[in-house]
């Protein structure tokens, strides 16, 4: 059985009086433990697709099922569990909390999910070690470089041991060297922990990596 299943998913926005279709009848199934890369131009609907899978937005039509959860039908309490335990998010911009250190940023989702603070910190420190930031654990985001912030965000996405990592252009704001470093750490961790990764990018080199490759154009998804 597929871990992620999208069946005729559409997403429309109202732009003034005009109805704008961002995703058009997207149907796809993904198995557990695979890395899927979705490429496409800016505005093609890549981020919208990830937001729908993450439960951050609701589809206008169709059905999304992830890890046994029917995402658009989840109540608030179940949505909290879903976002905590099923999906981990990495954004194009790091979105770290500026008042918290790297360690605290990584630890917080685990603490929120019910883990004891000490255990959450221990887990966060391990993950920071895995992305090569042990020595930067007690630095605030403003004291980290762009690549370090994004690697911290990768560690944060993994702290609750989710089944799927959703990464929205995680290297989009980085120079080439940092971009490759983040990609390498992300892929290594995902494969090492046996997770599923859905990665959205318009980086041509990144687009050719992964186990399955998709291209999205004018809201239509096709596998290449």
């Amino acid at each position: 059985m597929a871990l992620v299943s999208l069946d005729s998913v559409t997403k429309e926005y109202l732009s003034g009086s005009e109805r704008l279709r961002v995703l058009d009848e997207v149907t796809v199934e993904l198995e557990a433990g695979k890395i899927a890369v979705v490429s496409g131009e800016s505005g093609s609907g890549k981020s919208t697709l990830l937001n729908l899978i993450a439960g951050l937005d609701l589809p206008s039509g169709g059905r999304i099922t992830v890890g046994g959860y029917r995402v658009q039908a989840l109540r608030e309490e179940d949505m909290t569990d879903y976002r905590t335990r099923v999906v981990g998010l990495v954004f194009q911009f790091h979105f770290l909390l500026r008042d918290f250190t790297a360690l605290e940023n990584v630890m917080l989702p685990a603490y929120m999910a019910g883990m004891k603070r000490g255990a959450a910190e221990k887990r966060a420190f391990e993950l920071l070690g895995e992305v090569g930031l042990s020595d930067r654990a007690h630095h605030y985001p403003t004291q980290l470089s762009g690549g370090e912030r994004q690697r911290t965000a990768v560690a944060r996405a993994l702290v609750n041991d989710p089944e799927i990592i959703l990464a929205d252009e995680p290297t989009g704001n980085l120079d080439v060297a940092n971009s490759r470093l983040v990609q390498e750490r992300l892929f290594r961790l995902v494969r090492g922990y046996g997770k599923t990764l859905i990665l959205v990018t318009h980086d041509l080199e990144l687009a050719t990596s992964g186990d399955r490759r998709f291209h999205i154009e004018e809201g239509r998804l096709r596998e290449s």
């Binding site: 993450a54 951050l56 309490e77 979105f95 918290f100 883990m115 603070r117 609750n160």
Partner: protein, 448 residues
Amino acid sequence: MKLLNRNLGWIFYVSRRYLRTRRREKGHTASVLSVAGIAAGVMTLIVVLAVMNGFQLTTIRSILEVNSYHLRVTVTDDNGVDGALLAKLRGVPGVTAVVPFVDVQTVAQGYFSAIQAISLRGVPKDALAMDPSLVESLKILAGEFDLSTPGNVVLGSELARSLGLRVGDEVTLLSVVAASANPALQSSASGESRPRFRLVGIFRTGFYDYDLSWGFVSIGDALHDFGTAGPVVYGVKLRNRFADQAAERRIRDALPATDAGRVQIESWRQYNKAIFGALDVEKTTMMLLVGLIFLVVGVNIYQSLRRSVYERTEDIGVMRATGAPPWAIQLIFIFDGFYIGFLGSAIGTVVGLFLSVNINGVFAAAESVVNGALALGGPALQGFVGMRAGEFSIFSPSYFYLSAVPVKVVFGEVYSIFLFAVLSATIAGVFAARRATRIKPAYVLRYE
């Protein structure tokens, strides 16, 4: 309930961090001002109420201990002291003292002064021994409280001063009533009686009205020299003045059934209803007026927290996306308000209690500072403010009948003020946090 099963520790953790970082960051003076505002409100209310309680309790104490008693028992057709009744009253549980007395309205005249209307209370010569709390309230400034010899009188300090009398002087007390009742006292063709009394003691209660218009004579003199001064009243003091209704029931039970129709019992609540009611209204009004400060501070906290919610929109989006439910986000900002309230209230309570307890020292220090400034300013400054150095006094004895500002801290009120302040800040947090629940992570975290 699912909410209670969750780990709420992280909410406190984030909330405390937000309060701390806001305090640390430059430009975020709003939370400091919020804490200071709550502290100022709590401090002011505690000090104002402590001083007001001090003044009111001094007044109440003077009224109850010197004049009105806790219960007044009157036998309507009895003009003499009934020893049996006195003994019965003293035997009632909860009664600490019983003093029979007669009140007389009269006028007094010193050697060279104008006549002055006064109230005389006729009491047994051993009244002070009968009522220990009267001794505490009645400070003898000169002479002694000696009513053992007929014709002795003890007057209030302001009255003695106004009549120009010192201990040992004679004073004329006039009674028109007595003239018809006791022709032997008649000393002039006009028909007025002029009993002469010797001033043996001067007292001070601290309550200006009593010190200006009150005096004591023996109950025998009151009944004899001033005619039919009305039935004897038995002033009863209780261990707990608020247990007046139970004491009244016990007294009625102790009296013979035949006395039921003749005995009137009046509580201090009925007897002083007007003045105590006025004091209550005064205190409530003052609490409401000063309490308005919490409304202002609450609005300030609301604005501060709203700004905090706005500035942390991105954080809220991230926390929502990583699993925080809306109510948890709301709680973070409610706790923020609570912390501000708690911190401000704690500071305000400590400072308020310190100022209340040391209010006279604080006033003395303030007077020293102003007088020092006047001295330094020289004639120019003194001429400008119309006061010489050393003359400034916050509670000048020339205007206020005070030797020190009375203070009474009622801890129940302090708790209430503390809780109310914390509550007002928390409620401000509740309103400010409503926006936080409406933030949609998908919109906040969009980065195109």
